[in-house]
Amino acid sequence: MSLLDIEDLWVRFPTRQGVFDAVRGVSFSLGRERLGIVGESGSGKSMTGRAILRLIRKPGIVEASHVNLEGRDLLKLSEREMREVRGKQISMVMQDPKFSLNPVVTVGEQLMEAYLQHNSGSKSRARKMAIEMLENVSIRDAERVMRAYPHEVSGGMGQRIMIAMMLIPNPKILIADEPTSALDVSVQRQVLNIMDGLVKERGMGLIFISHDLNLVSEFCDRVLIMYSGRIVEVCEANKLHQAQHPYTQGLLNSLPRLDDKRTHLSVLTRDPSWSNAPSVRG
């Protein structure tokens, strides 16, 4: 059975110029797999992720036939029950990592607090675990980073701290929104290996939102390609480079390559029919 099953998901924002549909009738399911979501900026990737957790800020509206987590419709839960889901069953690493850390509390205190929320044990045990978690995400001087405030760590360190934090509750599903976009390629690999391990060993389901088509192709099992709030194509990740949709091909062609030097990169020429075609089921 799939962990998560989403049917006809919409995210709408009333704006001065009328209602803007950021996500338009998306349906997909997630098993114990690594599901990639790619697509251009503004195509609705983050809003899809946030809508699952009902984290769309007002006046935004989420609607769907259902968003079932192991058969239970999340849209029918009370806000209190939803908090339980967010804390324990589905974690999300936000695209803006530093934004989601508390700026006036040290990294160490935040990690320890998160640990103690989900595990019993002493403060010194929490401290030990927090340091271990930082080391797991390849942070060099974990002791020092424990004492640092969020503005005192680099962009990539902030991302890794968030990932460490989100894995503490041992979630069934991790939604990772651009989790490695600020990491150097070598640390990126290490972080991907951690997530990979959780999918394989604990049967976690992973929704991996990314701009990096090569990375998604190498790392994920399946990929949803989003355009203007809809899914335009679904494919096996390792077949992404043979994708059929002109939009997907356009995205692939716009990548700079080490083996191909050119003065200008090709950019996408959008076709209005792409946004009118019905959303593909993922």
């Binding site: 924002f13 704006t15 001065r16 697509g39 251009e40 900026s41 503004g42 195509s43 983050s46 800020r57 695209q95 803006d96 530093k98 934004f99 942070i139 060099r140 020092r144 004492r147 005192e152 760590v153 680099s154 962009g155 990539g156 360190m157 890794r160 651009e178 976009s181 600020a182 990491l183 150097d184 390629v185 070598s186 640390v187 990126q188 690999r189 701009h211 990096d212 088509l213 090569n214 990375l215 192709s217 190498e218 480079h241 356009g250 995205l251 692939l252 716009s254 990548l255 700079p256 390559r257 080490l258 083996d259 030097k261 050119r262 003065t263 200008h264 990169l265 090709s266 950019v267 996408l268």
Partner: protein, 250 residues
């Protein structure tokens, strides 16, 4: 002419046992009109070099010269910011949450003492591929990529000579990245701009830069040409490791 010269640069944060030596003995030199890349390990001091130049990392020693002028301390005057502008890594933190795109750009233009503000705002939005539709939105009504384009427009507002670009496209999708990189390349040719650009994406650096430095643990371990990178010939072991880990397109 040398646009930017850095010699024996040390940058540190904090004191005593909490002191972090973020940059240690860095040397680099960027000619006018050249584009220079910084790559390397996360936390290795790339952003810190840019921040030291713009006065955001007050504790440093060594020499920083901008268009022949030697900088000192952390104070930077108005003339400096007409010459040098920075685009930050984090498009979320760098825009004021309660200012519309229009306000952000108008105020910046105003601060630079420019006229014709209405027309310039429109021009900047077109330049970065946003268009007028976004003019009166607030940051929270924009996607990550859209915000970064606003940040680039703001940096371009004062028509600077030197742009310090900290991961300018890591929050952008690949198509917008291509647009922004093309835009940055065109602006560089057109105005003879100089770039110092941080990215973790080696193909992006090879595409944009003539030369690059590889950093690890606060130090520059190698300076090489992009041609060397493309041919897969870096000398230092860590540069080779980065190149190997860089995901190869099929």
């Amino acid at each position: 002419m040398t646009a930017l010269e850095i010699r024996d640069l040390d940058v540190w944060f904090g004191h005593a046992h909490d002191r972090v030596d973020a940059v240690k003995g860095a040397n680099l030199s960027v000619m006018q009109g050249e584009s220079f890349g910084l790559v390397g390990e996360s936390g290795s001091g790339k952003s810190t070099i840019l921040r030291a130049i713009t006065g955001l990392a007050p504790q440093w020693s060594g020499t920083i010269e901008v268009e022949g002028q030697t900088l000192s301390g952390a104070k930077r005057d108005r003339a400096f910011f007409r010459t040098v502008q920075m685009v930050f890594q984090d498009p979320y933190a760098s825009l004021h949450p309660r200012h519309t795109v229009d306000q952000v750009l108008s105020e910046t233009l105003h601060l630079h003492g420019l006229d014709n503000i209405d027309k310039r705002v429109a021009g900047l939005l077109d330049d970065v591929g946003l268009g007028q539709r976004f003019r009166f939105r607030y940051p929270h009504q924009l996607s990550g990529g859209q915000r970064q384009r606003v940040a680039i427009a703001r940096a371009l507002a004062g028509e600077p000579d030197i742009l310090l670009l900290d991961e300018p496209t890591s929050a952008l999708d690949v198509s917008v990245q291509a647009e922004v990189l093309n835009l940055l390349a065109d602006l560089r040719t057109k105005h003879g701009l100089t770039y110092l650009m941080v990215s973790h994406d080696l193909p992006v650096i090879a595409h944009m830069c003539d030369q690059l430095a590889v950093m690890r643990n606060g130090e520059i371990v190698e300076v090489m040409s992009s041609a060397t990178l493309r041919m897969g010939n870096p000398r230092h072991e860590y540069s080779q490791e980065l190149l190997r880990a860089s995901v190869a397109p099929q």
